[in-house]
Symmetry: C2
Subunit: 408 residues, 2 copies
């Protein structure tokens, strides 16, 4: 037998199955009301628009080209649409500032590959999107907690990174309706973070897959837009913006993008070329057509539905949660973050809930790389209808109340 373990690279020791993905497999039971999965509702995808787009491309004179290899940067037509989208967000840029990626997850992998040597430090929010850590882990970084809300000095961040044998390469955050908390970073914190990154001379990774899913409140400028305004233009910025079509039109085509200064995009294009040559041209051409034709109308329609579900979940939480339980009130996205009375363990609660209440959620400990957050949990409202939300939150509230009583 081949002794595989001895053949693997050092980085393989940091590759683990996502706890959440493994959990989701267990939770996929028809008898369970699930608020666990963090995915968009597939009943809402514009399947008819995609069907027309594929048919048009594959019946047309450019079918052969759509089925051929393509350029690593991405298709011109799709990059043009993305440029317009970024401009509407206050980011003046051109196609040379865009790399099309196979979902924003691939963008995170490429960013890790470009910036992180073993022992370098990445600053990340807590709790954070686990998929980002999984992507970065392959490049063997250290992590330090990013908290723009405190007054921790740049020198303190830098010396901690130096003590680990590397330097701070970037600060990673998801500023809009983040997974898992649903919270956004306000304007003052965004500015403080850019200032901190300037002091550290490091990059900023703005991961914004939920940006288009705003249900109320006022939009806050993306960090890249603030960076452009402060530095005089995108070529002077230090922010890499990761966008995605996965939460707005469809995750199935695996299409996202990175928008940044052109020298960084050129480096990322080399990484793309070496790692999978190009994202499928056919999918890019189809997405460009669907985005041109119905991005605004489609997201308006689905946002109205997601808003109803969010409101239903907030109302159910208010009606059914016992005292001592707190939760976020997100202005968009897919998630509500719940804090149980301190001392209560969300992983234990999930076991009880599956056994007696038939309600699933994701315990929040998984989103804290430092092992804290045991009394937190994530609820997703994106895939449940009003009745299930009311019934599921009612049962969960009853179970939490019981658990609180039994520990008194």
């Amino acid at each position: 037998m081949t002794t595989w373990d001895s053949l693997y690279a050092n980085r393989a020791s940091r590759m683990r199955a996502s706890e959440i993905r493994e959990l989701l497999k267990l939770l996929d039971r028809p008898d369970v009301i699930s608020f666990a999965g963090g995915i968009p509702d597939q009943a809402l995808f514009p399947a008819e628009a995609f069907k027309e787009a594929y048919e048009e491309i594959l019946s047309g004179p450019d079918a052969g080209r759509a089925l051929q290899y393509g350029v690593s940067e991405g298709s011109v037509r799709l990059r043009d649409w993305i440029v317009g989208h970024m401009r509407a967000l206050g980011i003046a840029c051109g196609p040379e500032n865009i790399l099309v990626t196979s979902g924003s997850q691939q963008g995170l992998d490429y960013i890790g590959k470009l910036f992180l040597s073993a022992g370098d430090t990445a600053l990340v929010q807590w709790p954070t999107y686990l998929g980002a850590l999984q992507a970065f882990n392959a490049y063997e970084p250290e992590y330090d907690r990013l908290d723009p809300g405190t007054n921790r000095a740049a020198a303190d961040y830098a010396s901690k990174a130096a003590a680990k044998g590397g330097r701070i390469k970037f600060a990673y955050l998801s500023p809009d309706f983040a997974n898992p908390t649903g919270l956004s970073v306000d304007l003052a914190e965004r500015k403080r973070l850019l200032s901190l990154a300037g002091d550290l001379d490091c990059a900023v990774i703005e991961d914004s897959p939920y940006e288009a899913l705003r249900y109320d409140g006022d939009a806050v400028d993306p960090l890249l837009a603030l960076d452009c305004a402060a530095s005089g233009g995108i070529e002077n910025t230090r922010t890499l913006y990761c966008g995605s079509f996965s939460k707005s039109l469809s995750p199935g085509l695996r299409l996202g993008w990175i928008c940044a200064a052109s020298p960084v995009i050129s480096r990322l294009v080399l990484i793309k070329q070496a790692s999978d040559l190009n994202t499928p041209v056919l999918n890019q051409e189809a997405m460009a057509r669907v985005a041109e034709r119905c991005f605004d109308s489609h997201t308006a329609r689905t946002n109205a539905i997601y808003k109803e579900r969010r409101d239903a979940m907030l109302a159910a939480l208010a009606a059914h949660m016992p005292e001592g339980v707190r939760w976020t009130r997100p202005e968009g996205g897919m998630f509500i973050w719940v804090e149980l009375p301190s001392g209560m363990d969300a992983a234990d609660l999930l076991q009880k809930s599956l056994a007696s209440a038939g309600v699933a959620f994701v315990p929040g400990g998984a989103f804290h790389p430092d092992g804290t957050g045991g009394n937190t949990l994530r609820l997703s409202f994106s895939c449940a209808d009003y009745q299930k939300i009311e019934e599921g939150i009612s049962r969960l509230g009853g179970l939490i109340a019981q658990t609180v009583m039994s520990t008194l």
Copy 2:
């Protein structure tokens, strides 16, 4: 301005644009007869079959599922087809032995990521597929020349790797109609190579994107099939087979696969999950349908066309090349490899050829990581018709004859 260069990882110094890709951009001129591009003829893709498949999926009850996230391993239906294909090649395996990748290029990237720490050695053929080196370079390996035709001892390979600070993790080769030479590795050499890998206790990477493009001669068992037979079954093997739909049905969907022992596939699934979650389900479902319906008939039809082109190019070479020029006679694939009289430089010849003959090819030096091979060049016959082949090779032969004369 951000000082980007100081922020990049060490590995970034090894990321360069593919010389060949850059060259191909220059050669894409309508007045040039090009034998440079190493891609399949897009006029031959089964566009109608793909159109029907996409329409069927996107009109059907599973449209939402096809547009949703999917499992990292790959779609069941496509993996089932691949299992059947591998079994026909003499490799008894199940779906647990298959990872669907976004083209076989992604397979090579993941293999580098799984096995190579900085300073480890990869054994590679010379000349070799450059895209493999580009994929591996991100993981900062050393290279040593693999030559199963010599009697170099395993201990010699191993001590050279140890001197570089690592160990030999795998031997990489493309055994069927390789890019760039068009040559195949015979049965005796395959067996010697497996024996060498056993002595080194390293993996074997069998990169076989051209496997289905055989025009004559007898098929030789894949190394993975020989490994299965010798070791008692796929779970005991050390060979990772990289397959691709890019050269047979279409490169545009970016679909390939890795077939190997299930513990290795499980590790690669974790890498897939962290780097892009999954290959598009929609594309996998479409490819599964097209492969089920017409893989054999389509490759039979296109192989007949490619065979004519190969034969035309071999005939033209025989008719027009001066004495002292040698070339390979590949039994399949897309390439013929030409050796010019020693001392003649193929890069110089390309400049002259573009200026005076209007014929493009790829100088062979680019395929030799050690800087040798200056008198070699690669001709691709996949995209040219009979008339262009006759005319182009005639002009090129005349130019080479002139060059030979002028140096006498």
